[in-house]
């Protein structure tokens, strides 16, 4: 018996972390899920990544979609044909003539002979068997179906092939399907799920079994990106967060003093207020000052296009164009409802990976609710902030509150434990005119002012008036 489970990395982004290294080498892994869950794609990417490293593999599919496979591959920029020509990959489409006649029993013998031939030709180490149920169902006899399935699995096992097998299962539950014994025969089971929550499609992956190995037990969101599958990293414990570091100037004259120097490195800062209180101007001020100090800023904008934002900020004297031109500022402008949270997260993570920013701005987090539900927004922000904190990136979030009650409901999405600094902006009617007020509700680990400060937005940017409210009244 095997004492230690040898593993083969799948090189599918994020999957090997969940599997603690990869799929069992020489073992059987089931990819289980409903139609459209992405089973075949997991299999194809596994073989393709292997082939790219010089590990030959074979995809045997019983579905009528050889062309679809090539189409997928093209979409993801994988040159399957080249890998096939070099002998690192082979796709066998086992098809049946629908006009053919049936006369008596048949079996897997022919398919195994063809598979053996291909395996020998390529010296293949890994195999994906896609939708064997399509073939088995032709037998039209439960007992025979199972017998042939055992035969196939035993054969694969004897060949010491690392095998992924896709299985369609109703409700994502093999135990309730015709192929229940698979559950016991498999060394590893990966469940894929696609569901629609409040009109937004989300994809989830879960490892439900891994013989002889620890594995991540949660459900993880994943997405199909233009480079293949991407499973969103695990929400890590706060222990992995980088300690708060030095202060970054906020770009708002007078605010740094109130915050003992500014926003701290690796901290998460929230600027919240009703419409028209100046939240975006605070965010832009921070972006401009930071880029001027040689920092890189990644600005996720759910409200407006980069062009419109840049031109709007010219009137308060915040010119973001030099930073955009020299590449230290990058925008990601996207409508929250345009895609599921997986795609949103991946776009954000990819932007972070490419730019390696010191600062990430999200304007505004209140828009995240339009990603589907309150829960989706929470998921998105939690993972994004967690990612920033782990990487030591300072984040600034803006939040639109709809009423005076903003102090009771800071974010509306219950992120308070993740947030280090909260700045509340208000428009207050006084002496027959609106005045802008700011208060610092929370500044973790630092001295901060408890006063309500008046501030102004002029064509020179944002500045706090020298003193607190009491002094302002004396003016």
């Amino acid at each position: 018996m095997v004492t230690q489970t040898l593993k083969t990395p799948t090189k599918i982004r994020g999957l090997d972390e969940i599997l603690n290294g990869g799929v069992p080498t020489g073992g059987l892994t089931l990819l289980n899920g409903g139609p459209g869950a992405g089973k075949t794609l997991f299999g194809l990417e596994f073989l393709m990544r292997g082939a790219q490293q010089g590990i030959p593999g074979i995809l045997l599919t019983f579905e009528e979609h050889e062309d679809a496979l090539h189409h997928y591959a093209t979409t993801f920029g994988w040159d399957i044909v080249e890998l096939e020509n070099r002998g690192f990959l082979s796709i066998i489409r086992a098809r049946f003539d629908p006009e053919g006649f049936l006369s008596g029993d048949f079996d897997l013998g022919g398919i195994l002979a063809i598979l053996r031939h291909k395996i020998e030709t390529l010296a293949a180490k890994q195999v994906v068997i896609d939708a064997p149920d399509v073939f088995l169902r032709l037998l039209d006899n439960r007992v025979k179906e199972r017998a042939e399935l055992y035969k196939l699995i035993n054969w694969l096992h004897d060949q010491k092939l690392t095998t992924l097998m896709t299985v369609k299962a109703d409700g994502g539950d093999i135990a309730r399907s015709d192929y229940e014994p698979l559950d016991y025969l498999a060394d590893c089971i990966i469940q894929l799920d696609q569901r629609v929550i409040e009109q937004v499609t989300t994809r989830r992956v879960r490892v439900s079994k891994y013989r002889g190995s620890a594995h991540g037990r949660n459900e993880y969101p994943f997405a199909m990106t233009d480079q293949g599958i991407w499973i969103i990293p695990i929400t890590e414990t706060q222990l992995s967060h980088v300690a708060l570091g030095e202060a970054f100037p906020t770009g708002v004259a007078g605010l740094d003093v109130q915050l003992s120097g500014g926003y701290l490195r690796a901290s998460c800062n929230l600027v919240t207020g009703a419409s028209g209180t100046g939240k975006t101007t605070f965010a832009a001020s921070f972006a401009r000052t930071s880029t001027a100090n040689g920092k890189r800023v990644f600005y996720i904008n759910f409200e407006e296009s980069p062009d419109s934002m840049v031109s709007c900020m010219l009137s308060p004297g915040i010119d973001l164009r030099p930073a955009l031109e020299n590449g230290s500022l990058r925008f990601l402008s996207v409508m929250p409802e345009a895609q599921g949270i997986e795609e949103h997260l991946i776009q954000a993570f990819r932007g972070i990976e490419e730019l390696k920013p010191d600062i990430v701005i999200v304007d505004a987090i209140s828009a995240c609710r339009r990603m589907g539900s309150r829960n989706s927004a929470f998921d998105y922000l939690l993972r994004l902030i967690d990612h920033c904190k782990t990487k030591g990136i300072t984040s600034l979030l803006t939040n639109l509150t709809d009423s005076v009650k903003e102090t009771q409901e800071i974010t509306g999405i219950d992120l308070s434990s993740m947030i280090d600094t909260v700045i509340i902006l208000r428009n207050v009617e006084q002496h027959g005119q609106f005045e802008r007020e700011l208060s610092v509700l929370k500044a973790r680990g630092r001295q901060h002012s408890n006063k309500v400060h008046e501030f102004q937005i002029t064509n020179q940017g944002v500045s706090l008036l020298n003193s607190g409210v009491e002094a302002a009244h004396d003016r």
Binding site: G100, F106, H117
Partner: protein
């Protein structure tokens, strides 16, 4: 069915997987059928998938055993061990 009057010529290709039970049965069943119809001319090629898998790949035959009818009615195929003789006779128009 009267002999001689309408003698037909058949070209068949039987795909088997070595001596697997169904393949053995298919060979027997085909032999019986041929013996039953001496009035016709049969040309039979047996392809063992274990020996010549590339022929099956080339022809897209994945189920074994299978009988390909090359002449007449080219393109027809019968899957299985041929134990349902009436199906086979019907397809071959015997």
């Amino acid at each position: 069915m009267t002999a001689n009057s309408n003698k037909k010529r058949y070209s068949l290709r039987l795909f088997v997987a070595g001596n697997a039970p169904n393949s053995r049965i298919a060979r027997k069943n085909l032999e019986h059928l041929l013996a039953k119809h001496p009035e016709h001319e049969f040309e039979v090629e047996v392809v063992d998938l274990n020996v010549q898998p590339e022929v099956a790949l080339d022809q897209g035959v994945f189920i074994s055993p299978a009988l390909q009818i090359l002449e007449p009615n080219s393109g027809g195929i019968v899957y299985g061990n041929l134990s349902q003789k009436e199906v086979l006779e019907k397809v071959l128009n015997l």
